[in-house]
Symmetry: C2
Subunit: 446 residues, 2 copies
C-alpha cells in the first residue's frame, strides 16, 4: 500500500510528523495539528473505483472492513496493520428517513443520521477506534512507549475511550474535577475499569494537569485536540453521502460544542471533492445551545475569531463548552461550506426532542439542538421544501433518561413542556377501557 | 412474487389463516399459532442463490433491504408491499468477537451478537417491524380495521411497539398494573406518545383485559403470542450465521423468559436447513435467571412440560417470567437443537456483566445471565475450547444505568460485587498523579 498520512500544522508551519508520534500541537506555533493525506497517491483509483470499493466493503463481514471507518481506511489511517485495529463495527448507522417529522415542517427529504446507535452510544467511537488502533501501532513500532491513555471528559469521550481501552487491554485514565460529576454520569468508564481520578480543581485545572502529564510522556492524550479523532469522525459525511447513493445533500445540520465534529464533517466532504467523488459541498448549519454559543456569537458579529465565553448550564451537556478547542478548524469549515450558525434555547431543544420522539425518534438533547435549529432555518426559508436535509444525531437517547423523564414530569429547568405524556390510571373495567380506546381510535382515524 | 406465508396451528390443527387476519390463537384448540412458509416455492432459488441475495442486500442502501429483517423478506412476510414497511434498519448488528473474554475462559471463538444496538435498544425491533408492517397491510386490504395496537408490557416490548407505532402514525396503547412500574421504566413509550393505561389490577388482570379487547376487535394485539413477532426475530440465527460466512456456530446461548426468542432462533436455523443453506443445527443453551427458571426446572426433571411457577424478583427484569407463553415452541426447539437449559443467580449474572464490561462490552443483566451460563457450560466441559460460541445480547446496557451503578456502588440486592470500581479523589498535584500513573502503567505492562 502506497498511501500515506502524516500530521502537519493546521496553520501551515513547515514539517510533518508520523501518526505514531505522541504529538498533539504544532511544535513551531503551538497551534492545532491536522492529518494530511497524500492526495496524489489516492488518485490511483478513479472516483468510481473508490465508490465501488467502499460499497463493496460496506456490506462485508471481513474484519475490519465492515466498520464504517475501516471500510475507508485508505482515507483515514492507511498504514495501520489489521491485527492492531480495535473496532466495534463503527458507523454504518441508520440514515433514518424522518417522513412524519419532515412532513410536519414541509421538508419531505429530512433524514436523521443515527450516530448514537454505536457500541458506546455516541459518535465518539468513530474517532476513538482510530486513536486506539494507531496507539497500538506506535507501541509495536516503538515510536513511543506510553501505554496509558487519558482524557479529561465527563461524558461520551470518556465512555468511548474506556471501552476501546478495555477491548485493547490498555489502561485508561479519566481526569475530572471532584464533585462536578456524579457516578451516574461515569458509569460507563467505571464499568469498563477505567481509573477515574477526581481532582481537587476545576475543569481547566484538569486540562492543565493532563497536558503536563502528556508532555512528560506519562499518558497518551485522547482529548479532541488529538487530530486522529477527527480522521475517524470525518467518515460521517462520506457515509451519509454513500447512503444517499453518493448524492451530496443540500444541508447538514449538526450540534457542536468543541467544534471538532464540524471540522471533521468538512474534512470528509473536502476529500470527496478533492478525489472527484462529488463536485459539490453541502451547506452546513452548526447548531449550538444558546447557553453555550461562542461560535454563534462570532457568526452574528461577522467575526472569524471565536471568543471564549463562560458557558451556562445546558441540558445539552456535551456541547456546554465556552472555549472550543477546534474553533479555527470549524471556522474554516463554515466558510468553505457556505455555512450558518444557529442556536436553540433550553425550551426549544427540549420541545424539538419531544416533537421528534412523537414521530418515532428517540432523541438526545444535542440532537434536539440540531432539530430546533433545523426548524428555525426552515421557518426562515433558508431550508427550502425541496432541500434534502441531514441532521446528525450524535448520541443515543437512552443516555438521557433523566432529561426525558424530567420533560414528561415537567421538572426540567427552563423548559415548559407542551407535549408531556404520563400514565392514566383506570379501573380494570373492560367497558370503561373500551370507551377510552374508541375515543382514541376515532381521534387517530380522523 | 409467488412466495406465500400463512398462520396455522402450532399443534397441527387443520386450517390456515392469512397473515392479515387479526387472529392470535388457534380457533380449534386455542393453542399457539405459527407462520408457515411455502418451502417448495422457496426452493426455486438454490442455497447459493439465497446466500448471494442475502449478502447483496445486507446493509444496503435500497429501502427496505438494508434492514436485516427485510433483506430476508421472502422468508419472513413475503407479500407486504414496500410502501407499507415500517423499518428502522433492524438487525445487521455487530457480531462482536469477544477476544479478551474468550481468552479468559479458554474459548477463542467467543462472539456476542449485539442485538441491543437497535433503534429502541433491544432485539424486540426485529419482530415489531414485521408486526406493524403487516398491520398496515391488513388495514389497506381491509382484512380488518383495528388501528389501535396494544400490549401489556413493562419494558422493551412497549418501547419498541411505541416507536414503530409512532413512525407509522398508528395509536399505541400500553396496559400495565398500576403502581408496579415507574415512569422511568416507561419513558420510551411515554416519549413516543403512547397511551399508557395504569390499571387497578395485577399483570394477569392486564392480560385478561387485553385479550378481551382483542376479541372485541378494539385493539390489535402486539404481545409475543402474536406469531408475526417470531418471524422477525428468527433472523437472528440466520444473520449470525451469515456473519460467520454461512458457517453455523457450535453453540448459541440466549437469555430467555417468555421463550419466544428460543422458538424464533430455532425457526431461523430450521429454515436454513430445510432450504439447504446449511446441514447442521447449533446446540442451544436457554439461559434463565434462577429466580425465574420454569424451563430450567422442567429440563432438570426431564419433563417436556414447563410448569408455571411464581417468578421471584430478578435484576434481569425482562425475563422475570414464571409462566412463559412460548413454552411449547421452545421445548420443541430445545429437543431439535440438542439443547440444554442453564440458570444464573443474581450474583452470578451481575458478576458476569462486570467481568464482560471490563473487556469492553457494556452488558445488560439478561446478557449477564447468558454469559454466566456460558461460563458454567465451559467449566463443565460442555463447551469445548475449539467450539465457536455465540452469546445473544438482547438489550442495550444503556437501559440499565441503575443496575450498573448499583453494582459499582455495592447497593444491589443479592449481589456481592467483586469488581466494583469507583472514582479516586486526589489533589491536583502533578507529581502525586504521576506516581499513581506510573504504578498503573507498571501493573498494566506486566
Amino acid at each position: 500500500m502506497t498511501y500515506r498520512a502524516q500530521f502537519r500544522c493546521f496553520s501551515g508551519c513547515p514539517g510533518t510528523h508520523a501518526l505514531t508520534e505522541a504529538i498533539y500541537r504544532c511544535p513551531t506555533c503551538d497551534g492545532l495539528l491536522e492529518v494530511h493525506h497524500d492526495i496524489e497517491a489516492l488518485r490511483d483509483r478513479s472516483p468510481r473505483q473508490w465508490k465501488e470499493l467502499f460499497d463493496l466493503r460496506y456490506r462485508g463481514h471481513e474484519f475490519p472492513y465492515g466498520s464504517g471507518v475501516w471500510g475507508k481506511r485508505e482515507w483515514i489511517a492507511p498504514q495501520v496493520p489489521d491485527d492492531l485495529i480495535v473496532s466495534t463495527y463503527e458507523g454504518a448507522t441508520n440514515l433514518f428517513h424522518a417522513r412524519r417529522l419532515g412532513a410536519e415542517i414541509g421538508v419531505p427529504e429530512l433524514y436523521v443520521k443515527q450516530c448514537g446507535n454505536a457500541h458506546t452510544g455516541s459518535f465518539k467511537d468513530l474517532g476513538m477506534t482510530v486513536l486506539v488502533s494507531v496507539l497500538r501501532w506506535a507501541l509495536r513500532t516503538g515510536a513511543h512507549n506510553t501505554r496509558v491513555i487519558a482524557c479529561a471528559s465527563t461524558g461520551d469521550t470518556s465512555a468511548s475511550l474506556a471501552a476501546y481501552g478495555a477491548i485493547a487491554g490498555l489502561p485508561v485514565v479519566v481526569l475530572l474535577p471532584r464533585g462536578l460529576v456524579s457516578p451516574a454520569q461515569l458509569v460507563q468508564p467505571l464499568a469498563h475499569g477505567a481509573t477515574v481520578l477526581a481532582l481537587e480543581t476545576d475543569f481547566d485545572g484538569c486540562m492543565a494537569v493532563i497536558r503536563e502529564l502528556a508532555k512528560r510522556g506519562l499518558i497518551y492524550l485522547a482529548n479532541s485536540m488529538n487530530p486522529l479523532r477527527i480522521e475517524g469522525q470525518k467518515t460521517v459525511g462520506i457515509e451519509l453521502t454513500q447512503q444517499l447513493e453518493w448524492e451530496v445533500p443540500d444541508w447538514v445540520v449538526l450540534p457542536s460544542g468543541n467544534l471538532g465534529n464540524a471540522a471533521a464533517l468538512y474534512a470528509g466532504f473536502r476529500m470527496m471533492v478533492d478525489l472527484g467523488l462529488t463536485n459539490k459541498l453541502p451547506r452546513i448549519c452548526v447548531a449550538q445551545a444558546e447557553n453555550a454559543n461562542p461560535m454563534y456569537r462570532a457568526f452574528m458579529a461577522g467575526s472569524e475569531k471565536v471568543e471564549a465565553i463562560a458557558a451556562k448550564k445546558s441540558h445539552a451537556s456535551a456541547i456546554q463548552i465556552g472555549n472550543p478547542v477546534s474553533a479555527p478548524r470549524a471556522m474554516a469549515a463554515l466558510k468553505a461550506m457556505n455555512g450558518v450558525v444557529e442556536q436553540a434555547s433550553e425550551d426549544e431543544l427540549a420541545d424539538a426532542c419531544a416533537r421528534a420522539d412523537r414521530t418515532g425518534l428517540y432523541t438526545d438533547p444535542h440532537t434536539g439542538v440540531a432539530l430546533a435549529c433545523t426548524f428555525k432555518l426552515r421557518d426562515r426559508g433558508l431550508i427550502g421544501s425541496n432541500d434534502r436535509v441531514v441532521v446528525v444525531s450524535t448520541a443515543n437517547g437512552l443516555k438521557f433518561t433523566e432529561f426525558k423523564l424530567g420533560y414528561h414530569e415537567k421538572t426540567l429547568a427552563d423548559v415548559s413542556p407542551r407535549r408531556a405524556n404520563l400514565p392514566i390510571t383506570l379501573p380494570a373495567d373492560v367497558e370503561r377501557i373500551a370507551t377510552t380506546l374508541q375515543e382514541l381510535s376515532a381521534k387517530a382515524g380522523s
